[in-house]
């Protein structure tokens, strides 16, 4: 009985916790598949979270909030594309720069406008006829807010775009062998601009999912580094949307489990130091990375700027 509640609660928790990671990691997957590493995801998430929060705070219109996060995210993605593609700056460093920019600006804007964390009415949980009332399953799968469903719906869509469309083929080619793509008449710069801008938009949505759907509040450094975990999850998921989702769910499940560790201890009569429980998600991630098999999908041109020249 208690274990049933526990399972349902952990699973539902994991799905909610995974939502921002899925948005951000899918976006980053597009960028990395085309050869651009954007380490500034966390900064974009923060500004996206603030934009969505502020729009809802002022107007109460949730769709406007989503739109604000999307636009802000895409603008920042565009900036990252300009820096990494056109200016060919070192991607790691410029990503960190973008992160610090997002961290500082979101904080500053928040202090100049809303000042103290004030709750807002975010996306309500969706009640689906019949489904939500299902025992256990209803709680796990059919009692979340809209953005949770959007995030999970984006997984098959992203996989389809990457694997079944001409644009996806171009992305994969540009990330693996930009010279070949160039020789086939594909604009490497155009493809990278599009993926990084799209990735920025996704990161903005990730921020919105925190500030106007899951937490319904804004606070300085609201993401507390989730964007960096999202980048790691892309490696973890070997640049495949479904695997990335699996990674996000695994990470979130272990995270949700550690929240329940006291309940589990009581049920089993054992004592686990909480530090171990907290380390668990990271340890699991690292171990999986170590034992991950060879990665055919790895974009070999990742972090390498492309310039047409002597081949």
């Amino acid at each position: 009985m208690i274990t049933d509640i526990l399972k349902a609660s952990v699973a539902a928790s994991a799905i909610r916790l995974a939502t921002p990671y899925i948005f951000a990691s899918l976006g980053e997957t597009f960028g990395q598949r085309s050869g651009v590493l954007n380490l500034g995801v966390d900064g974009i998430m923060l500004l996206g979270a603030f934009a969505a929060y502020y729009a809802v705070f002022e107007t109460g219109n949730l769709l406007l909030g989503v739109l604000a996060a999307l636009i802000v995210g895409m603008l920042l993605g565009l900036a990252m594309a300009f820096i990494s593609v056109t200016l060919q700056a070192e991607q790691g460093i410029s990503g960190i720069g973008l992160y610090l920019f997002g961290l500082g600006l979101s904080e500053l804007l928040f202090q100049k406008t809303v000042v103290t964390p004030t709750p807002i009415d975010g996306f309500p949980r969706v009640n689906l006829p019949i489904l939500t009332d299902l025992p256990v399953l209803g709680e796990i799968f059919f009692h979340h807010n809209l953005l949770v469903y959007v995030a999970f719906a984006l997984v098959p869509i992203s996989a389809f775009v990457l694997n079944r469309t001409t644009f996806g083929l171009q992305i994969r080619a540009v990330g693996q062998n930009p010279e070949a793509a160039d020789a086939m008449g594909i604009s490497v710069a155009r493809v990278r601009y599009m993926t990084v801008t799209l990735g920025g938009g996704f990161a903005g949505l990730a921020g919105a999912s925190l500030s106007i759907a899951l937490l319904n509040i804004f606070q300085s450094n609201l993401t507390s580094g989730q964007g960096f975990i999202a980048v790691a999850l892309v490696y973890f998921g070997a640049w495949r949307p479904y695997w990335v989702m699996g990674g996000a769910l695994l990470f979130s499940t272990v995270n949700a489990l550690q929240l329940q560790v006291k309940t589990i201890e009581n049920a089993l009569g054992i004592n686990v130091p909480s530090e171990f429980a907290v380390m668990a998600p990271y340890v699991v991630t690292i171990i999986t990375l170590i034992f991950a098999s060879k990665r055919v999908e790895q974009p070999t041109a990742l972090t390498k700027p492309f310039e047409r020249g002597e081949s």
């Binding site: 079944r164 469309t165 001409t166 644009f167 996806g168 083929l169 171009q170 994969r172 080619a173 693996q176 062998n177 010279e179 070949a180 793509a181 160039d182 020789a183 086939m184 008449g185 594909i186 055919v296 999908e297 070999t300 047409r308 081949s311």
Partner: protein, 516 residues
Amino acid sequence: MPENLLPTGHRRIEQMRMQGIVKKFPGVLAVDHVDFDVKAGEIHALLGENGAGKSTLMKILYGLYHPEEGHIYLNDQSVVIRSPNHAIQHGIGMIHQHFMLVPSLTVAENVALGLKSSRGLILDLEVVSKRIRELSEIYGLQVNPNSPIWQLAVGEQQRVEILRALYRGAALLILDEPTAVLTPQEVDDLFRILNQMTADGHALIFISHKLHEVLAISHRITVLRDGKRVYSIPAESATKEMLAQMMVGRPVVLRYDLPPIEPGPALLRLEGVCATSDRGDEGLKNVSLNVHAGEIVGVAGVSGNGQRELAQVIAGMRSITAGKIWLNNDDVTSHSPAAMNQHGLSHIPEARMTDGVIKNFTVAENFVLQNHGRKPYAWGGLFMNFRSITRQCKTAIKDYEIKTPSHETPIKSLSGGNIQKLVLARELSRQPRVLIAAQPTRGVDIGASEYIHHRLLEERTKGTAILLISEDLDEILALSDRIVVMYEGAIVGAVKRDAADVRTLGLMMAGSKVTV
């Protein structure tokens, strides 16, 4: 089928003419008022040393570079080719020396890359695969559209490149050094395909520096030297000697006499050597080998069959998992490169820009790279004796005909041939007992190659044991007393110089067991 259509259904290019083409790079006139043309049904070979301008000229035709002067005419109409895409639209295709394929994608995906899909934004790989099969049928280019590129052999990858060009309607095809990575059998296969394409009305441009291949396949030959067109001649009236002389600008010796030498004791011995490759699989499988004093042993094979690992293992740059190595009868298994040097080994590494020299160092610094701590280059192993270094280096520059502004020039600004000569000078200055020469003339012009070959033969006469590793079968045949062939990390055959012929070697290089 109407007259002016190819079997692929695309229009023929009856004639392509480049006129007065000029291309400048900072400080260099890469292409200097060159005229060039090719007709439907013809193979026109473009011959020249590295840096003669043949690649630049072809990149202009393919839209990768834009000429400062000159015009391009297709079927007597002037065209400006702005980009590869534009060239493709005009029916011009190019097979690059380094294949422009994406390894993780399938054949069909590589072909579909950059093309409009019949289903809009969504890929139509079934349609593409069907068309690939049709084209394979017409030209006998067997390839499975669903195989990922990384699983294909080099020859198959080249077929994909050709298929892709045909798919895109290429009526004129530029082939940049297409035989460099192929076994002799694969070369035969390629030539069969090329002949069929010309019979069908394609126009082909064949870039190469291998004289016998050029003579075998082409109808006309144009030689470039220092960015200028030196000569154009029908293939049937050309000879190797004549072409070599036009390329280099002076008479060149193409055949070497190997004076018979009674081989001395075995100075280099390998027994059952195994090693792991960078990819993590078995790079060397149970390799046993002897090289005697005064003998050149040639190692033949298609690139990536363990030659690199073999050289590195002997030089002490790669650890071995089993077996033993002797130098001068001393067991040197698992010794460091420095220890190998002290046992009388010299090594001309395959990757000369990364393993052979330090790019930003000067000629003199690179010259003393290994011996900088020893006499006569240093006092007491600590202080560098610059006067002695300068003197020795200047002597080497003179002796080895190294073209460099001074001994203080950074090595990276020298040509490949001159860098190789410097490496050779450094390695031979130590008077080695055993010499490993890995790809000693790759990317080196004919003149320098000839010089390096003579130096190797001189060493042979001195009684040095030489292991010559090369993917250039002509080089192996010209210099070696004995030839061993490597395939997938193992030695699959050994032949004496007199018994060697290209056919058997080619079969062995492709993995067939041949008894000689």
